[in-house]
Symmetry: none
Subunit: 400 residues, 2 copies
């Protein structure tokens, strides 16, 4: 897929496109059936009968994607060309708003022995509440160095995000996390000449934090990795002439949507509120990304039945989307999360696209194996957005 | 497929992958059925029902591959990026062990008239025994020039391989074979400045050989072409973190496996011995390539029934492979060899991959047309290895 080609053909029209992403919806068989096959989904199945179906590879054969690349592909961005640093993704995940000059990284609270050697990279996976308390402590003691503001935001268990704000900061800085026990934390070092001041700053922060944490147990050290800055992606407005809006309850997906220039709507924290947000804002935008998190969470937990039920819950909302009469409605996953594997996987995503000119293909159920027989076959997820634009009559002819 | 991406995600695990290559297995219909469709293959068919199936293009649509590119693709090497010189392939085919500095080329015994003009490029396709006798004669008379050892190895009929060993040799040397009758053999000439000494050496060899052969009839001249050296490919160990072993009875396939760093096992010279070798070495490696030659040979001979029987023979060995409990088992061809065409062809290869998390697709028979309906659809053969790694849980997640 060549986004410059798509960009050169995209035109602004009134048609409205809806991309419904059911996170991790694809699965694997348990007792002969996948989660989708086991679910009772009359509305999704009826939509499949009117749609063109297929399965998508988020990146390529055999590649298991993280949420970042999987979503970028669905938004029309080549996930091998457009990459997002680990620190930035972690920051998006905890809901931090990053400016273009901010530097951020992932952090672990860890345990070092009296000689300074790491003995536990996760400080016994300390309680999240203790993590929050330590972040507040660090914030009060190490909130600013040499005119640079330092922000400590707690994540779950031992995880935190550190943001450096102010001045001319570089992300070409090596990790301080040795990634294994039995070694000392490494000093940050510059990976390019211009990163010299930043790496000195990082080392000062780590040293001060060590002093602050020295009386704590077991979290008496801070390990940093994945220094990165917000990528400067062209927006979906620039690339595809869309006015896009995002409806998602989790910070990670709201952050990803913002990276490609979507307007992030206030979507509450339930599926019901998400679909109400779609309805209430339908007149305002021409592209809607709605993200449903639950099936992925149940998949990660290995909870087959929970995933089945969460899929059935989504199914009940399909009529309310169709009532809005979108010109194009896509239902798919970002990646598969089989409860059998308890993790993201490489398996292609079931996909269906409904529009008045989709050339429906007789697929009778929205499942992995039925969609595979559909008119689109197996194809790269980065082609989803061009297909949506085309079905919304938003792409001019190529050549004469 | 981006092998750098795969390489960056590959991890070492204990899972065991088996790639069973049935050479030339794909075919074309005679009386409505292909060789696979005509064959009785209960074991392959039962495996297909538990597998994910598809068909692979070795290179791209319509391209008929030689054994070299077809195998490189299956080993995870882009066959358009990784190329092997004709001389080297010929040398591998007759079982010559090439060092990194050795130069080799293909040769023909030919007939020239008294004025030196080529009248038969193949010397009447002289008997293979005569060829061997002439090679021994040349070896005794032209075994060494200017400190460089010259090795003459006979092939079938008029074909031979010449190896130059010692000193700083270049492969940037033009053919001496004019490729048509009615012309004189051409002097080798340098295709780059550094090849000047090598091309002089080659011309000395040709001249000496002509003197030696001048009293022979009809093979009174030597034509050389395809000067090449062993390519320096990254190994499968480096690229994919595998400990790979090859089980093949023919020198060509053993040589190809060696080029990508496989350990070539002593596999005897029968299918039975090959599968015994797999069993005996199964604990030692984590990737096994097994090559079955017969179906290709029958295909090349246009022997439909012979090919059917050779496929049925392979089928009988499938249970013995499954008894070893490989984590991933792939059965496919390198290229098609329809007996109708008596040659390699461009038709995609039937493919199936069995693992505990393959997402089986209901394909009921291992045939070209049934596999085409499978969950993987039609895809490039170079994606086979990433899929095997993924199914063996040997690939980390891409991005977060």
């Amino acid at each position: 897929m060549d986004e410059e080609l798509i960009s050169s053909l995209a035109v602004k029209t009134d048609s409205k496109l809806v991309l419904l992403v059911i996170d991790g919806v694809g699965g694997l068989e348990v007792d002969g059936m996948t989660e989708l096959e086991a679910a009772h989904t009359p509305n999704l199945d009826e939509l499949a009968r009117k749609s063109i179906c297929g399965v998508t590879d988020p990146v390529s054969s055999g590649i298991t994607p993280g949420s970042g690349p999987a979503h970028l592909a669905l938004f029309g961005y080549d996930p091998l060309k457009y990459t997002i640093g680990r620190g930035v993704l972690e920051a998006l995940g905890v809901g931090i708003e990053l400016g273009p000059r901010d530097l951020c990284c992932r952090g672990n609270f860890a345990t070092v022995d009296p000689s300074g050697v790491v003995v536990d990279r996760r400080a016994g996976r300390l309680p999240t509440e203790k993590n929050a308390e330590l972040c507040r402590l660090l914030q009060s003691q190490v909130g600013s160095i040499e005119g640079v503001e330092i922000g400590f935001t707690s994540g779950k268990e031992h995880r935190l995000v550190v943001v450096f704000r102010g001045g001319d900061l570089s992300d070409k800085v090596s990790d301080t996390d040795p990634q294994k026990v039995g070694e000392r934390p490494r000093p940050a070092s510059p990976l390019a000449p211009e990163a010299e001041p930043t790496s000195r700053l990082v080392n000062s922060v780590v040293e001060l934090a060590s002093q602050v944490l020295s009386r704590q147990s077991p979290a008496n050290a801070l390990l940093l990795r994945g220094f990165s800055k917000c990528p400067d992606f062209p927006s979906m407005r620039e690339l595809f002439r869309l006015s896009p809006a995002a409806i998602a309850t989790y910070p990670m997906y709201r952050g990803l949507a913002k990276l490609v220039g979507m307007e992030v709507l206030d979507a509450g924290d339930s599926t019901e509120e998400e679909f109400a947000t779609l309805k209430g804002n339908f007149y305002k935008y021409d592209f809607f990304y709605i993200h449903i998190k639950k099936p992925d969470r149940y998949g990660e937990d290995g909870d087959f039945n929970g995933k089945v039920m969460s899929i059935e819950e989504v199914d009940e909302w399909i009529p309310s989307v169709l009532e809005l009469r979108p010109d194009v409605l896509v239902v798919t996953g970002d990646h598969s999360t089989p409860s059998l594997l308890k993790s993201h996987s490489w398996h292609p995503n079931p996909f269906m696209l409904y529009s008045l000119h989709c050339r429906s293909d007789g697929v009778a159920r929205f499942t992995e194996r039925e969609c595979r027989k559909g008119g689109l076959g197996r194809f790269p997820a980065v082609e989803v957005l061009p297909l949506m634009l085309a079905n919304g009559l938003k792409l001019k002819k190529y050549g004469a």
